[in-house]
Symmetry: C3
Subunit: 438 residues, 3 copies
């Protein structure tokens, strides 16, 4: 490790504004109110549950009690990168020392966090300190976006309700209420989608997005087949796995059509097995599946050459497929490092791989997936540190490598800027999204 070079590069990357193209931030309550909110993030509750089984006993609704309990367990996870995020939040936002994270300090930290995060100026200070200029959101079709600050937030529409939620009567009812008429035929579902897209477009919709199971297949499904499937549901029947796959393929196509018509990207997050762990904390039950190929998306990517598909994958096993797709497919954009792959060793490997073979302008470096604004800075810094390390390695290798031109510090920073700022804006950016970049 060339410490000086890594530090130099990291310092410059750290000074870049943050464009965060995927979060779960709530625009009307974007920040944590206290350290209990921070600790309620499933990355902490699930690690604690894993290290010391709670069997549902965590006081999730009571931030104070949760803080007290989790402080007792922090020593059990202090080797993890998630713990490092917490240390960074404590140090950078709350002025805490490492020694403040002892079990007996929970009250002091809780009170301190209320004091800092409870101030009216907090969000503004946080955004400035972290230099966050654009935050993409995760929204349901029936979210009320009024009051959304378009100079900071970009809404994004999740389409799982259309892709597979529709099988549940409750989702159909919710969608009927939204549509203002019963959901009875596939066109009704697409009508609901269209209304949502119209409505979101007033707030400069960023993209539509879906998280998907491993090995999803896409193909041209005839309208009559979709009608038959929906009729069966409406009549109280149920779907087989093949039925589910067909409906999903049908709606994938219809959603991609809508993206084409509206010039919207379709962001895919691929490879998660839902509800795998029965004793999980909320949001902590899903797992990656190493058997996960992108091959089933060929039809989708080929049939919609005009649509941009930013693509994130959950497992290392799909990493080379993703890099190769970004390499030859003009409309696939490798995007960030998702969830179980959002950790230093996975990031470093995929970064090297992508930088070696994918045109630099096609790479969306990172998104935080954060639930509160406070997580954006430590997560981006985790990424930027790996990026600095990989870029420093490029600089050093270029001095020795028989094929390379010299890769200078300036080259490194230019590439870093592409991944972190330019590409997110050019691939999923809206008119608004470029505004805050000086």
């Amino acid at each position: 490790m060339n410490h000086a070079l890594i530090s130099e590069i990291f310092g410059q990357l750290d000074a870049l504004p943050i464009v965060d193209i995927h979060t779960h931030v709530q625009f009307n309550q974007p920040n944590a109110c206290n350290i209990g909110d921070i600790l309620s993030y499933h990355y902490y509750t699930e690690l604690y549950n894993s290290a010391e089984f709670q069997d549902g006993a965590l006081p999730l609704g009571d931030p104070e009690a949760l803080t007290r309990v989790l402080f007792k367990g922090l020593r059990l996870i202090k080797n993890t990168v998630q713990y490092d995020w917490l240390m960074a939040i404590g140090r950078d936002f709350l002025g805490l020392e490492a020694s403040d994270w002892q079990p007996e300090c929970w009250r002091k930290v809780f009170d301190r966090s209320c004091e800092v995060m409870g101030r009216a100026e907090w969000v503004g200070e946080l955004l400035e300190q972290a230099n966050i200029v654009r935050v993409y959101l995760t929204n349901s079709y029936d979210d009320d976006l009024s009051g959304l600050n378009r100079s900071l937030y970009t809404p994004c529409l999740r389409v799982e309700p259309f892709l597979n939620g529709i099988e549940q009567a409750a989702e159909r009812e919710r969608m009927s209420a939204y549509l203002g008429q019963p959901i009875e035929v596939p066109c009704d579902v697409i009508a609901a989608l269209d209304i949502a897209l119209d409505s979101f477009s007033e707030y400069s919709l960023g993209y539509v997005a879906a998280s998907l199971a491993p090995n999803v297949r896409t193909w041209q499904v005839a309208a009559e087949d979709a009608e038959r499937l929906m009729r069966r549901l409406i009549e109280g029947g149920s779907w087989s796995d093949d039925d589910r796959a067909a409906w999903q393929a049908y709606t994938m196509g219809r959603i991609a059509e809508a993206c084409r018509a509206r010039n919207l990207p379709f962001h895919l997050m691929v490879g998660v097995d839902r509800a795998a762990y029965a004793q999980a904390v909320p949001s902590g039950s899903d797992l990656p599946d190493s058997i996960s190929s992108l091959r089933g998306y060929d039809w989708l990517f080929n049939s919609f050459p005009e649509v941009r598909f930013p693509l994130a994958v959950l497992t290392d096993t799909t990493g080379l497929e993703l890099a190769s797709a970004g390499w030859i497919r003009h409309n696939v954009y490798p995007s960030g490092h998702w969830w179980y792959a959002n950790q230093p060793s996975e990031i470093a490997r995929e970064l090297r791989r992508r930088l070696d073979v994918v045109p630099g302008g096609k790479l969306i470096g990172y998104f935080s997936d954060a639930y509160y604004l406070e997580f954006i800075l430590p997560k981006f810094r985790m990424y930027k540190f790996e990026l600095a390390t990989v870029l420093a390695e490029r600089v050093e290798r270029s001095l020795l490598h028989p094929n390379s031109n010299p890769f200078t510090l300036d080259d490194a920073l230019e590439l870093g800027n592409m991944l972190l700022v330019d590409n997110p804006l050019s691939i999923v950016g809206t008119a608004e999204s470029a505004l805050n970049i000086a």
Copy 2:
């Protein structure tokens, strides 16, 4: 590489006592008697057979002749890590120089090995020199454990005979003989299991264990289905693949029930395709399968939340699944680096991955899988060197990383001690197993 730091950390890790939670050591003949025994380990015979095809011609029953033959082939495998184990055994136990491994020196080495390993004090000296304090064994249900030294050895029951051996008439006969009555219904099989567990418990049984094919599925199988399956066998019929899978799932559940009732861990070693190579030396015919997911174990892990499941995997492709399972599942414990994954580059990758996201107390660092006590030290040192390298990297990165607290040498050693000593004892340890740790 920070040489000084790696050496410092390695030195301290090397001084730790060895707790080896999985071996194939025979408690009544735990050591090699000569270098021919060492070279009969399939890691050597298979490499030699691969480098210079023997087509079954190796003199496996004759240690002297085997030594003579393999000495001619050692130059062919000297790039391998297995060769390094051999060099370490030669140097550390037999006082040999690198130059002693020439073909013409075979007799000298053989004689020297007989001299050293033939002494009555040899095992005691070896244990002391290597600081081995606890050795877990691999036992069949009908093993005679009398004479087992409980201050050193912990027996572990292999359950493959119950899971799939039963399909063979010979295994049923052997089990009938053990049970003292014919194996005719599933309860008879479970009765044999219970007797074994009772009998082993007198010797402080460590855990039950099984090595398994890739993509095993587990689910609740009704007793009647198991009865039907067994009846077919007894009546001379045969099983389909589905039948085999159903019986295996049934017995997995029953074994897990027994583990729950007796507070025993169930150690799973996942992903091996047996008998893949036809021209193999003994124990050298099995291969890993890159298509190998843990998803089929969801039912087992979810249905037995009280049972600890240490889990080892054979392939890199399952590595992120294992780390993720250890991360969120309270009862899955990533365990060591097994067989084809038991080599420096696989170990280093998985170590970084696990240390980044799994609570430190849930990681069983290493087991040797050794057939003779002599292999334990070089194998553990291979692991400890990778661990020292990864920990040194952590120390260095923490000096630069924006999120990290300083990770000191003491922190490194504490974490190393957890992986190597504390966790094995807390996860699979018995009352006896803690005794020898000062």
Copy 3:
């Protein structure tokens, strides 16, 4: 990185003669005539098409126009390793500076390339400068090899037409023309194969080769089944997926029989999904599939223990399977780093893995897959740099490692020479192929 040590090792590896066991070079037009030929390589056209979608608009038949267009796009791919190959070709063969690759310089570079590459002495100079002593080719059964320079080129027979081309009437007609009688029964196909093998043997055939889809299965297919399948085709019927698999398995066996009879290696390149990308440039439509196991080859490898199977894989997910097969199977030889895996980070990982566990004499280090002789040097240098880095790491680790003997610079060079020269010659070499090595 130990710069001095890497440089020292690289320098010595760079001085070795190049034995390139797999290329697509045309022996009667082995070199590029201009930079447009170089840029027509699908590695450039596909990257440009990916970075800036051309939708079929690239002037592929016009080297000048293609040069002009691609020069505008080079800035988009300058982070890639393929760009580095181009820089090396420019610098080492054309005397260009990095600054010559600006869009406005296209004419100068084109003219310069015509001047250099158009000279009658060019191929000879290139071979001498790059120290290329042996180039294996990729040939169709009906290629006319007259005029082939056996002191440099070794022809290799591609067998895909026999394995799966036969399903197309056009291929059957072409093969009938070659055979001089209609292809009506499986024996006719094998007769065509035999004639090709006879004919190629006059030019010292190197091996037979095939690139294959993921998860190919092999098994003993009866002659009657093959006859039934062919009859169906001849009668105008079509094949199911199972039929295709059965025919492929049948011909795999027959080809392996021919290899056994003629002492020919059978080079397998495994794991490519063809025609995955619809808007592709020529040769740019195929992708890797992460779900790709070698298990289906067990029958083939086991049934032909006398046949050598050099084996290249397309994906990282098959890497450990390949290393493990090389480790225990006497007749599987891990071969190079193919296509999507032919990039620094994949090479480095697989090199470490293979060197740790596969007998050194069984590893074919590298092949270029080049379409023009000009690509051989930069591609080999890419590999040699990774090899130098891995060997330097071995030297350094051996100074610290408790198990290792000192791994000296001489040891490193000996191992490098094995991978690059000795092994290719011993595993797939012909009498001719050894001639040029001093």
